[in-house]
Symmetry: C2
Subunit: 343 residues, 2 copies
DNA sequence: TTGCTTTACGAAAACGTGGTAGTGTTGAAA
DNA sequence: TTTCAACACTACCACGTTTTCGTAAAGCAA
């Protein structure tokens, strides 16, 4: 077991100075050819690689970016990570991932842990609890320290930074409109609790689509679910009353649960009940029937977010203390993927 | 925008030496109370936090662990990451994630990138290509440098290190046995190509269960699939011939595809065809019918792997250059989760 | 020989930290 | 008065790099 070799050890072994070794390896003309080649050969033999940590300290750049997300066992978030990782890798960056578990405290802790020099910038999606509390001091702090932050999906207007989102309202509008176009009149919305930003926006789009089509906006048809386990009971109640003939669910887990509940009650999808889900995940593709969804390319979001962050990071290098704050919000396109759960 | 404050800056500002500041903050008795409190107040005000990079360099410990996996948009792997992250977080470690994309080159590149001081140890699952090539020099190299490595799920006997696996053979045996117990005679195995270690082991278990029960082992009933898209065609052909009445699939994607194919052909699951899948994922829970699976707790594997790695890392600190090489292989328990796809 | 330029290398600082060893002052005991 | 300990703090080193500056030796012209 030989620990990794350092410049110092090479220098000692070859009886030259550290600087000579360093320069030889970077092919500096300052060093005579003989010495240079000797050093290079030696370094190659011992498989010398510069120590990243030392480089980070010197350059004040870690070449790694931090990702803070609410969950990782989650189709959408893992596609985003995938997207980030691709771009990061292309640019020689590593990604450090922290899971907030939708907890405010964990989010803060994780950010503090990474903010002390471990990374060059953050890409994050807010935890539910953070959105609920509306407390973003940890993010402000990081930004004030000059560390770039890009938020995606679950964002907030209270923080000025680059953002990557989808037009949740428009996407919801489009989905509901398509249900209306196929003749549905009583469309339910199954959503999360209000403080999750995207839930709110999707609700807005739902409402607008109804009103624009002269349909009544009925509060009773908005079903707010905190936990997917309580979903079934609520749904079956309403289905029993035949209160709606179509449903727009803000995620595919809700959607598949609704379909299963409907099936149990002898209702057929899509004949008796049309279903559209937000977020195109793996369940929608493989459930029976397959589910019509609003696609929301996590990979694209990740790509874009990583590009924006790296651009910021590398811009800072040049301008040095001169970062211009014209933050941009990128909107990723969505489209409706029609499958069997609608007609 | 104020950059993070350092000991040096505090020292300068308060006109004391850097050591005084450092000691004051660590509550050393060497420093008089007055100075100590003054420094602490100042540090608190400017929100001083020691720089992680400098600490890493000094301590030769990064407090982060590297994860190399073939895919991230993958239920099993993401649960493993989740498990690792939990334990890592508890112990004050961060996780750096690299995706090999099942490519040998990427795996090597990623490992090299992280091995130069960025992390204290690896947790990894081999890429398909690496298993195919049988080239593990990059791993040996890392281990020789004294960096602990824990492999999980897709492992190899050619590398000596700690491992976390499930007993693929026994689990497959159990699944097939349960199909036999329910009266099935013609059981097909839908698996991946041979070089993936787990695929091989599961095949072995399948074969043993058949032979132990006096059933013929028929090569024709082993369906090797490289790409899930080709699955449907092959399957429908065999189903058409009524060649089998039960199927054991090595992953849930294969299983759900088989069920859908069977349904299209008018076959009923489980009446006409019983299905068991390896790896309990989200699809099995939500497909129709829900799928009986061999649960393989990724989270537990992640927990265990992280614990083993951190133990190694922190053992090295003490023994220093004295690591004992009695590597262990931890076998995580599996069990059959019976759902609707079997009777 | 003197003075100047090249060549080829070395010393040292810097990045931020933390521990060990050292230093100077004060007060009290011998 | 001398000596010694306690106190309060500073100096210095190491971690591994890169880079700037310095300089000795050699070569060359005058």
């Amino acid at each position: 077991m030989k620990r990794k070799i350092t410049l110092k050890q090479i220098a000692k072994e070859l009886d030259v100075s550290i600087s000579t070794v360093s320069k030889s390896l970077r092919n500096s003309l300052e060093i005579g050819e003989e010495t240079r080649l000797k050093v290079q050969a030696f370094a190659k033999f011992y498989n010398y690689k510069p120590n990243n940590i030392a480089l980070s300290l010197k350059n004040r750049k870690t070449k790694s970016i931090g990702i803070i997300i609410p969950e990782i066992v989650h189709y959408f978030f893992s596609t985003v990570i995938n997207g980030i990782e691709q771009v990061a890798n292309e640019h020689g960056y590593s990604v450090v991932i922290c899971v907030s578990d939708d907890s405010f405290d964990k989010e803060v802790l994780n950010m503090e842990m990474l903010a002390n020099g471990s990374i060059d910038g953050f890409i994050m999606s807010l935890s539910k609890e953070t959105q609920f509390k509306g407390d973003f001091h940890h993010i402000t702090e990081v930004i004030n320290q000059g560390m770039p932050v890009v938020m995606f999906d679950r964002v907030t207007n209270d923080i000025l930074c680059d953002k990557v989102i989808i037009d949740d309202k428009a996407a919801a509008y489009e989905a509901v409109q398509s249900l209306i176009d196929s003749g549905r009149k009583k469309i339910a919305l199954v959503t999360t609790v209000d403080y999750v930003s995207v839930g709110k926006l999707r609700t807005d789009g739902y409402e607008k689509a109804l009103l624009d089509n002269g349909l009544p906006f009925n509060e009773d048809l908005i079903i707010k679910i905190e936990d997917v386990n309580t979903c079934e009971i609520t749904i079956s109640q309403l289905l029993h009353d035949r209160a709606f003939d179509a449903v727009f669910a803000v995620n595919e887990l809700f959607a598949v649960t609704i379909i299963k509940t409907a099936n149990k009650m002898g209702l057929k999808v899509p004949e008796d009940l049309a279903v559209i889900a937000f977020t195109d995940g793996i369940i929608s593709k493989y459930s029976t029937p397959t589910i019509t969804t609003v696609s929301q390319s996590g990979e694209k979001m990740g790509n874009k977010a990583a590009k924006m962050l790296i651009e910021r990071i590398e811009a800072e290098e040049d301008d040095d203390e001169e970062h211009n704050e014209n933050y941009i919000t990128e909107v990723i396109e969505t489209h409706l993927i029609k499958r069997e759960s609608t007609d």
